[in-house]
């Protein structure tokens, strides 16, 4: 192994361009103290920079218009409890309704995704039937189809079925995701076949095995899928933009854009609305981040 990983000792002394800060880039977690503290410092600075827009959004939402237009710029709001912007957001637009719509769409999409994906995952993982691999790779191949390439025909279908501006129309492309089928297949494949055989010998029906043996053992994956799907559905923009025409069917992402226009943008209101739209998902994310990270890593390592 060592021969393959390392260069012959002659080559290692060859001078090399050192454009990378190699001390810092080198891997093992414990290194010289100086290098380690540089890493800590850089990571922390980067993290704070990434975090800054959240902070900026929150403080701006607490400022009045004269405050956000003050020169020189003032970072913190005069009054930390100034919630007038939030009140105005709810007064100007039915933002509560938008939140309910979003929550409804995201929950249904998470639920249906979990049900259909785990059924399909079980079928693909533990059964043998003609065309199995063809079907599986056809589904995986759909990852390659950008949603934007199907949005026009999809809209025409939704229109023909009279589902424009309805919940069903909003949900149509969001009920199952390829990622879900993939995730559930990978997870269920790891469930020992003995469990299933034992249940079968005891006379359990196939649906019974699915409900009583498979689902309880893959609960973590179900949770992961539900959370990630909820987040995706909550954040969708293009499809709602296409399919929603009335104010009462709008979701939060659409509601956000109603505070902007070409001529003047009241950023104190925009940021207040943004906080409202982001907060639920951020709370979910921060409390359940372990699962989200797992989903991302799943999609990353096995993809």
């Amino acid at each position: 192994m060592a021969e393959r990983v390392l260069p012959p000792s002659g080559a290692s002394s060859k001078p090399r361009r050192s454009e990378a800060p190699s001390r810092w880039l080198s891997h093992p977690p414990v290194g010289p103290t100086f290098a380690r503290w540089t890493a800590v410092l850089l990571v922390a600075c980067g993290a704070l920079t990434v975090f800054f827009p959240f902070f900026w959004m929150a403080v701006t939402s607490l400022k009045t218009v004269p405050e956000i237009q003050r020169v020189p710029l003032q970072i913190l709001p005069d009054n930390w409890l100034n919630l007038a912007n939030y009140r105005e957001v709810f007064e100007r637009e039915p933002f509560g309704r938008f939140l309910v719509n979003s929550a409804l769409i995201a929950s249904i999409s998470a639920l249906s995704s979990v049900v259909v994906s785990s059924l399909a995952g079980y079928g693909f993982a533990k059964f043998d039937f003609p065309g199995k691999s063809v079907f599986f790779f056809a589904i995986i191949g759909i990852i390659m189809v950008p949603f934007q390439s199907v949005v026009v025909p999809l809209y025409l279908w939704v229109n023909r079925l009279g589902l424009v501006d309805t919940y069903l129309g909003l949900l149509a492309p969001d009920l199952v995701s390829v990622f879900g089928v993939f995730l559930m297949r990978q997870t269920i494949e790891a469930v020992p076949g003995d469990y299933i055989d034992a249940a079968r010998i005891d006379g359990c029906s196939e649906i019974g095995i699915f409900r009583r043996v498979i689902l309880p053992t893959v609960k973590p994956a179900l949770a992961t899928l539900a959370i990630i799907k909820f987040m995706w559905a909550w954040n969708h923009f293009l499809w709602p933009l296409v399919v929603v025409s009335s104010t009462r069917m709008k979701v939060v992402t659409l509601g956000l854009t109603s505070f902007t226009n070409i001529y003047f943008i009241e950023f104190n209101l925009v940021t207040a609305a943004a906080v409202i739209s982001v907060l639920p998902i951020l709370i979910i994310f921060l409390t359940l981040q372990k699962w989200v990270v797992q989903a991302v890593v799943m999609s990353g390592l096995k993809g």
Binding site: S9, G123, I142, P146, T260, V292
Partner: protein
């Protein structure tokens, strides 16, 4: 044929098992056919038909392709998309790699977790909200970006309203949104590299740069290729960020292919032209991904 008949009328246990398996995957199969495969086929077919306003479609062969592919507006939006891609893809991947290596060096797990979550937070936010907050940061008069520029003595810029800076500015939003995702994937991969490799290398006298380029980077190759493909797809489909802020402006300088597709289809109702663009997006993404997969994915077997 006989196989399928036996599935419908199962006699044996094996046949019943096969039917059960098929029934389990059937809902997903039907759904994906209806929502992705049929519309995709329709997009492809639709690109050969001219839709009259009264709803009658007329076969026109490649004439719509001819029209779209000779339209300077279309090519300028392709150019914008590619520019955006060329800025944000390398930036995201390199920064993600750097951040994951830095995080991996942290000894304290709880601090590592805290910083990692901060990097990852933008991933959970909708692109619309992200873009609007950044639009406020980019505000030419009261924005924070120009405040910082003023602090270090640079002239204020018009950012999203400037023809030259709008694409880099949008690219920064993309990097901000995607950085945490890439970092997480790299970090997980880094943690799965056995420490023995590094110990062995150190005993053999490899310095830290050699360890990085000869061990870490080759072992991360699958993840790097995959992240590049995902970033490619993400950047090719840029819509929300642009539509919520600049709507493709100023003067079309930030109009991406998808923004153009949306406007062609849902503002001007030229569905045939939009189908041509949809086919273009699909085919180019497919080709680039396959090429990337083919040429950059090296089998890793240590």
């Amino acid at each position: 044929m006989q196989r399928w008949v036996r599935l419908l009328l199962p006699h044996t246990y094996i046949d019943r098992q096969r039917r059960a398996g098929l029934l389990f995957v059937l809902p997903a199969l039907l759904y994906f056919c209806l929502v992705f495969l049929v519309p995709l086929a329709q997009s492809i077919l639709g690109s050969f038909y001219f839709m009259r306003p009264d709803g009658v479609a007329r076969f026109v062969g490649l004439r719509l392709y001819n029209r779209v592919l000779t339209d300077p507006l279309f090519w300028s939006s392709v150019r914008n998309t590619v520019t955006l891609l060329l800025i944000s893809l390398p930036a995201t991947v390199i920064l993600g790699l750097a951040v994951s290596l830095g995080l991996n060096r942290l000894v304290s797990l709880s601090w590592r977790n805290t910083w990692a979550v901060m990097y990852f937070m933008p991933f959970s936010v909708s692109l619309v909200a992200a873009a609007l907050v950044w639009q406020w940061i980019y505000d030419p008069v009261y924005g924070f970006a120009n405040y910082l520029f003023g602090l270090v003595g640079l002239l204020p810029q018009r950012w999203l309203q400037s023809v030259e800076l709008v694409l880099p500015a949008v690219a920064v939003i993309n990097v901000w949104v995607r950085l945490g995702f890439d970092t997480m994937i790299f970090l997980a991969a880094l943690q799965s590299i056995p420490a023995e490799y590094y110990e062995a290398a150190e005993i053999d006298g490899a310095n830290s740069r050699q360890r990085f380029f000869r061990i870490t980077l080759p072992l991360l190759n699958p993840q790097i290729v995959m992240v590049c493909i995902l970033e490619l797809a993400f950047n090719f489909q840029v819509f929300d960020q642009v539509y919520a802020t600049t709507q493709g402006g100023p003067a079309g300088a930030s109009s991406t292919v998808i923004v153009l597709l949306y406007e062609t289809a849902f503002k001007y109702f030229r569905l045939g032209d939009a189908s041509v663009m949809a086919v273009f997006v699909f085919v180019s993404l497919l080709v680039v991904t396959l090429l990337q997969w083919r040429f950059f994915r090296k089998p890793v077997e240590y």
